[in-house]
């Protein structure tokens, strides 16, 4: 049952990811990207990462995708702005890179000695808000504080970039 859900969800995620780069209309691409994100959220739940799954839906499928939709609608792209959807010049290069990368990934996964899942001996708070929060505010407090600096810089950068006169 678990395997069936995994196969179905990952198929949805992969097919939607393919459609993201094959669509000509950016709005349709955003919708397929959202499908991929929600499918990945289901995979996160299967991996007992409940908090991260909720974050995935709220932050990615909610905030970031709305930002994308805003920009696409703000730009008001016409049909001819989309251009030909695929650069034919780079297609062989892309296929070659993709094949090499995929084979490399699979070989590494196959060759690495990955120990079996610990399974039942996970703590009860694994992946919950409590568990993630405890890690975030004790072990990883310094990186967490640095995150706020990153966000401030990003906000300032976005405001400066989007000003009328650069």
């Amino acid at each position: 049952m678990e395997l069936a859900i995994f196969i179905l969800t990952s198929l949805v995620a992969i097919v939607a990811a393919l459609l993201v780069i094959l669509q000509r209309n950016p709005i349709a691409s955003v919708m397929y990207l959202m499908t991929t994100f929600v499918a990945q959220a289901i995979l996160f739940i299967q991996l007992r990462a409940a908090f991260i799954a909720i974050l995935q839906v709220i932050v990615y499928a909610g905030a970031i995708m709305v930002l994308f939709l805003f920009v696409i609608m703000l730009l008001n792209l016409r049909r001819e702005d989309f251009g030909k959807d695929i650069k034919l010049k780079y297609k062989p290069l892309a296929v070659a890179f993709a094949v090499v990368l995929l084979i490399e990934t699979l070989v590494v996964i196959n060759a690495s000695m990955i120990p079996a899942l610990p399974g039942a001996n996970l703590p009860a708070t694994f992946g919950s808000v409590q568990g993630v929060g405890k890690e975030l505010f004790t072990t990883y407090l310094y990186p967490f504080e640095l995150t706020s600096v990153l966000l401030i810089v990003a906000i300032l950068g976005a405001v400066v970039m989007a000003k009328k006169k650069l």
């Binding site: 990811a17 993201v20 995979l43 959807d85 296929v95 899942l117 610990p118 989007a162």
Partner: protein
């Protein structure tokens, strides 16, 4: 119980799709979405390893990656707006001043 390798294979495939998108797409917004796809594939691998090792470190790492992705989306989309205002096009082939 689904083996860890299956999740890693799915993450690898999604990452590869994202990479093809960055190389092949012409519309700058689609390129941006392909970058988000790659970030998400990395997230999936992190969570899978975290589950496998029984450690919460991967969850915190995914939290950080999401922050970086949000910052990157905000700055990148404002760059796209500035670009569109100057060039009136979302086609990256027309942005070729720094290309040799």
């Amino acid at each position: 119980m689904v083996p860890l390798e299956y999740y890693l294979v799915v993450a690898g495939i999604i990452f590869t799709i994202g990479m093809i998108g960055v190389i092949v797409a012409r519309n700058i917004i689609i390129i941006f979405m392909a970058i988000e796809l790659m970030l998400n594939a990395a997230n999936l691998a992190m969570i899978a390893f975290s589950r496998n090792l029984g450690s919460m470190g991967g969850h915190v790492m995914v939290f950080m990656i999401m922050t970086v992705a949000a910052a990157e989306a905000a700055v990148g989309l404002s760059i796209i707006i500035a670009l569109f205002r100057n060039r009136d096009s979302a086609n990256i082939d027309e942005v070729n001043l720094m290309k040799w």
